[in-house]
């Protein structure tokens, strides 16, 4: 496969999901919409009673915004996009037509993660800009993040979105069902993981969970602190989730009847 074909395929993958207005609108709502609502609400709170409520921006607002985009609503948007990328060809029946072109199935799978990553990062980037605007415009004289922290925050959000999006792409390619993928990934990340994190008897077995690993790599102090692990361990866990999800999706794409 030439670089030109790879670029074309990536563009096509972005086109087919990017033009899905429902998915993209909901992803924007989950990221930018939530950021606007958060800063708007806390700004009103602060204005109504400055003594009782801290300013919406500053380090505190930045931390909340970063965590929202990397761990909560940004994660949901990444799963939404990843599930769509992973299942769009299968659920529409177009996968069969793509296979009949003679193009390698692994190549067809291989462009899915980059496409999901690009779309997720575009959505998160818009929301991150809004976070920064809120952080500085609504700081109210409190401390604001320096450039280093801003870049670290962006990097962490990007990493978290890519990994969670990859998980959705892998599960989507494995199941072929968007509904099943959304239920499984969001259920795992938002519900099951939180339950397991709080089962202290599991001890270090909880280190294999994705969310605690991501939280431990967060550059700002915003984690819930339930599971501590070394940064090296966290990186290994994150890479493990990335590799396993992609392997599962690639295997299924390669072996399934089209």
């Amino acid at each position: 496969m030439t670089l030109t074909v790879a670029r074309q395929m990536l563009g096509a993958e972005i086109l087919k999901v990017g033009r899905n207005r429902g998915v993209m609108a909901f992803a924007l709502l989950l990221t930018s919409g939530v950021v606007v609502i958060y800063f708007g609400y806390t700004a009103i709170e602060h204005a109504s009673n400055p003594l009782l409520n801290a300013p919406a921006g500053g380090i505190h607002g930045f931390t909340r915004g970063v965590r929202s985009l990397g761990e909560f609503f940004g994660m949901l948007a990444a799963v939404l996009i990843g599930a769509e990328v992973g299942t769009a060809d299968l659920s529409s029946g177009v996968f069969r037509d793509l296979v009949t072109t003679g193009r390698s199935r692994l190549a067809l799978f291989g462009v899915r993660l980059p496409a999901a990553a690009i779309l997720s990062l575009c959505v998160s980037a818009i929301a991150y800009v809004l976070v920064l605007i809120g952080t500085f415009a609504l700081a109210g004289g409190t401390a604001t993040p320096d450039l280093g922290l801003i870049l670290q925050g962006a990097g962490w959000i990007a990493m978290a979105n890519i990994v969670v999006g990859a998980l959705a792409v892998g599960v989507g390619s494995l199941t072929g069902s968007r509904a099943l993928t959304l239920t499984a990934v969001i259920g795992w990340q938002a519900i099951v993981t939180n339950l397991l994190v709080n089962v202290t008897s599991l001890g270090s077995a909880r280190d294999v969970l994705l969310t605690p690993a991501l939280t431990n790599l967060m550059p700002v102090n915003g984690g819930d602190g339930s599971v501590f692990m070394a940064a090296t361990t966290a990186v290994i866990v994150v890479c493990g989730w990335l590799i396993i999800s992609q392997f599962a999706g690639a295997w299924r794409t390669e072996t399934q009847d089209a």
């Binding site: 030439t2 030109t4 074909v5 074309q8 395929m9 563009g11 096509a12 086109l15 087919k16 033009r19 899905n20 207005r21 769009a88 529409s92 029946g93 177009v94 069969r96 037509d97 793509l98 296979v99 009949t100 072109t101 003679g102 193009r103 390698s104 067809l108 009847d257 089209a258």
Partner: protein, 339 residues
């Protein structure tokens, strides 16, 4: 639909008359001439214990419109799916353009366009965007063929509408346009006339004739036997996973018994006169005359002479030509009766 014979001048869909010779050794003793674009030998596929295709030998001549006939579940789509690498065969050898599939499927399928069962698209994208997606997967040149392909199937004016607003017939045409992006030497069309109205079927038939006229091969699976007879040069009949007949349409519809219909004013007098005639193997009355099974290939003239001489007024005398549909039903029911 008003199919045009023109394609995008910037990236013409060239005639596929391709003289390249197979460079591959014949590992299994199967002829690999490029005169045949599809050759299968001993192809078998089972779904669990149930055989879907059994020991299937098929030869499709290059540059023809070839019909592939069979009842539902006979194995037509299963064979097509195996040829296209959508599912694996359990045994046998398949070649397209002299190259083995699935081993060389990437090279082979680069010049094959296919619609399997029915064309699928992303409904939220326009027709043009759907073609862009397939073109991106095919080759850098394929994108330049999009406008020409849309023109050819008569969808230029709807190219920027979302596919979910298309009719079934328009989707079929868009499916053909998608096939043309490959500049195909072989088009595999599985039931392409499903859902088309009579006008659409006629246009489709014309398009297939144009495609074969350019040297392309059209492999057409269809239930519409009358359409296959009108559209195809040759055909194969598959029944319960086995090929039971294949060859030119004229040979498939030919019967070992030659029959003639004789139109006359007194059928019963004619039957009496022909009783014991050496050229007559059998005869029976019809509403407007008699139908005679000839004992040999000749004999119609002597029968006519006998009747006219005896005073029976003969208004017509014509050979009975069976339709492909009649032959198909005869062949498949005969096989069914043996099992």
């Amino acid at each position: 639909m008003a199919p045009s014979v023109r394609c995008a001048p910037e990236a013409p869909i060239a005639p596929a008359a391709d003289d390249r010779r197979s460079r591959h050794a014949d590992h299994v003793g199967m002829s690999t001439t490029t005169a045949n674009i599809i050759e299968t030998r001993g192809v078998t596929k089972r779904f669990g214990a149930r055989p879907a295709v059994m020991d299937l030998d098929l030869t499709v001549p290059r540059g023809s419109a070839f019909g592939f006939l069979g009842h539902n579940g006979a194995g037509k789509t299963t064979l097509i799916r195996m040829l296209l690498g959508l599912t694996t065969a359990d045994g046998g050898v398949m070649r397209i353009s002299g190259r083995r599939v699935p081993e060389e499927r990437a090279a082979v399928l680069a010049r094959v366009g296919a619609i399997v069962e029915e064309p699928h698209f992303h409904g939220h994208l326009t027709g043009h965007e759907n073609l862009r997606i397939i073109a991106a997967v095919r080759s850098p040149e394929a994108r330049g063929r999009i406008d020409g392909a849309l023109r050819r199937v008569g969808l230029s004016d709807r190219a920027n509408d979302r596919v979910k607003t298309y009719s079934q017939g328009m989707r079929q045409r868009l499916g053909v346009a998608r096939c043309l992006l490959a500049d195909p030497e072989l088009l595999i069309l599985d039931e392409p006339m499903n859902g088309l109205d009579p006008g659409g079927i006629l246009e489709f038939r014309t398009m297939i004739a144009e495609l074969t006229g350019e040297g392309r091969t059209v492999f057409l699976s269809s239930h519409l036997l009358d359409e296959v007879e009108k559209t195809c040069h040759a055909a194969a009949v598959i029944d319960r996973g086995r090929i039971i007949a294949q060859g030119p349409i004229s040979e498939l519809v030919a019967d070992e018994h030659t029959e003639v219909d004789v139109g006359c004013d007194d059928p019963y007098a004619a039957l009496d006169l022909l009783d014991g005639h050496p050229a007559v193997a059998a005869a029976h009355a019809t509403p407007d005359g008699v139908r005679i099974t000839l004992a040999g290939v000749d004999g119609a003239a002597s029968i006519n002479s006998r009747l006219v001489t005896a005073g029976v007024a003969v208004s017509r005398l014509e050979p009975v030509r069976e339709s492909l549909e009649q032959r198909f039903l005869e062949m498949t029911s005969r096989v069914g009766g043996q099992s």
